[in-house]
């Protein structure tokens, strides 16, 4: 009898110990991630009605949301256009120096992201390097208005989110089997055809994760528009900050956050659906 008990206890111990060690991660997640998200939800509907959402259907909020979506999408798109060729070149034409190139590509981003914003403010302003250079060469007579504009916002956002696109693309293209190229050429395809019919579809998971890794944070961005955009145009992130830090009702802030999170979800699903359709043919 004692032996049985001992075995049972040992068995329970064997199972209980990993459980005891492993459960904190789950609890942490529930307590500090899912409950806060639930709270946003609850705060938005304190009276089981849509009352906190109706103010946000006014035209100014709609235009802010639309602008944010467009800028986030363009940022992701430009990041892709810039990152894909360079990662392709590094992975397939880099040879021995592949790793060095890659590390030096990421090196600038090891300094804090805000420092980059500062650096570009400096370069893009009226008396900044670009204008001084162009004026001294004689290409322009009046300094270009680069800073405090939508151009500056997209430009700096692309710069800051580029590593988020580079990393997944690199890991995806690195795993790519070079023999696919050979096989494709053997079957008579040109380089261009191989690119579009073989490489891109096969590296698609990397492209997709990179695209979303840029799109989602870019949607919530508020520092860049404030600093390089002259705080002239509000974005979703600016409004959320505005309401959360300085508003009397937590519910309004929560409601707007929920609304925009939902809109982001729709955009993500739409983009996902469209790309799947294009590449399934």
């Amino acid at each position: 009898m004692n032996l049985l008990k001992k075995n049972v206890l040992k068995k329970i111990g064997d199972e209980a110990m990993p459980f005891a060690l492993g459960i904190p991660a789950f609890l942490w997640q529930i307590l500090f991630f899912y409950i806060p998200l639930l709270l946003v939800f609850i705060l938005s509907f304190p009276t089981f009605s849509w009352e906190y959402f109706t103010p946000f259907f006014a035209s100014e909020y709609v235009s802010v949301i639309v602008r944010t979506v467009l800028i986030a999408l363009s940022t992701a798109f430009f990041c892709l256009c810039i990152a894909y060729p360079i990662v392709y070149l590094i992975v397939f034409k880099g040879g021995r120096f592949k790793h060095m190139f890659f590390l030096f590509l990421l090196l600038p981003f090891l300094t804090t992201f805000l420092l980059h914003i500062y650096a570009w403010m400096f370069v893009l302003e009226r008396g900044g390097v670009i204008n001084v250079l162009l004026q001294s060469v004689g290409l322009i007579s009046e300094p270009l208005h680069l800073l405090n504009s939508s151009f500056a916002v997209i430009f700096v956002m692309v710069y800051c989110y580029l590593p988020f696109m580079i990393l997944p693309l690199y890991s995806s293209l690195e795993k790519f089997d070079k023999r696919f190229f050979e096989a494709s050429y053997d079957l008579g395809a040109t380089w261009w055809q191989t690119l579009w019919r073989v490489l891109i579809p096969l590296s698609f998971p990397g492209i997709r994760s990179g695209f979303f890794l840029v799109l989602v944070p870019a949607f919530g961005e508020f520092a860049i528009p404030e600093l390089v955009g002259g705080d002239k145009k509000m974005f979703v992130g600016s409004i959320i900050t505005h309401y959360t830090m300085g508003a009397q009702t937590a519910s309004l802030g929560a409601a707007f956050t929920l609304l925009t999170a939902f809109i982001l979800l729709i955009v993500v699903v739409a983009v996902y659906g469209i790309t799947v359709k294009i590449f399934k043919q």
Binding site: P24, L39, L43, L103, L107, I117, Y118, F122, Y159, A250
Partner: protein, 263 residues
């Protein structure tokens, strides 16, 4: 195209590589140059001086902020590494595999930081918890879990389960088997993920702004307040320092890996 226009494609490739690297490094180089500017503001160029580097040493605020950032990042990395490893251990010990384990943690990356920050701030306000170091560490650990658990778990799933079975057949207990067999195999991923979480936490700005903005100054917040109020070349000097440091680390790391390849 590469076959038909080899010279053209070569030139285009070189051009593109040069343009991208220039795009990446221009602000850094300009920063570097103007950190030696002998004026109370970065532009225009007046004269050469090392004054700002000296001033940087005495600027206590920035070093306090760096120290804070380091403390938060290390704590977050430690907490999330331990919890993720033990979670994997638990998953290992189960007879059946939990399919969607990692997916449970995907939310941390999918949900925009700002949404999470709003919710977390709401929770803290409701429970009347004062904002500060601990609340920020908690928030960063959530982020860290979101990176580490998927990485570690997917790496574990790729491992050969027969190794573990063999170890247990040879008489190891679960714990022993895990630490002598699985853990060393997971180590590279663990270190890589830990480094990633460290950088993300050190650099994080949104969560710090919401969950500790006024009480506990981390480096990004310090820089933000400088940007808002008025910059001085001290920031230039600091960023040059940071870059040189990162550059040295990168060179050391790459030389180590290259040596591994040779031997």
């Amino acid at each position: 195209m590469t076959e038909r226009f080899p010279l053209f494609s070569r030139c285009l490739s070189v051009f593109w590589v040069v343009m991208v690297y220039a795009f990446l490094y221009i602000p850094i180089i300009i920063f570097f140059i103007f950190s030696f500017n002998n004026a109370p503001f970065p532009a225009p160029w007046v004269g050469f001086t090392l004054h700002w580097y000296r001033a940087l040493v005495y600027e206590t605020d920035i070093w306090v902020a760096v120290g804070n950032s380091l403390m938060v990042a290390m704590s977050a990395v430690l907490l999330s590494s331990c919890m993720s490893i033990f979670l994997v251990f638990y998953a290992v010990s189960r007879s059946s595999k939990i399919k969607g384990l990692a997916a449970y943690f995907y939310g941390n990356l999918i949900v925009p930081e700002i949404v999470f920050a709003v919710g977390f701030l709401g929770l803290l306000t409701m429970l009347k918890v004062p904002l500060g170091f601990i609340t920020l560490v908690i928030a960063h650990t959530v982020l860290g879990l979101g990176y580490m658990v998927p990485i570690l778990y997917s790496r574990y799933c790729e491992l050969d389960y027969r190794l573990l079975e063999a170890a247990q057949d040879l008489g190891a207990t679960q714990l022993q088997a895990f630490f002598t067999v699985t853990h060393p195999l997971l180590k590279p991923s663990l270190l890589g993920a830990a480094l990633l979480v460290f950088i993300i936490s050190f650099d994080d700005f949104v969560l710090a702004y919401f969950c500790s903005g006024t009480t506990f100054q981390t480096l990004p917040l310090y820089i933000l307040s400088m940007l808002r109020v008025g910059v001085s070349p001290i920031v230039n000097a600091f960023s040059t320092l940071l870059l040189v440091l990162s550059g040295i680390l990168v060179i050391i790391y790459s030389s180590l890996t290259i040596r591994n390849r040779i031997f």
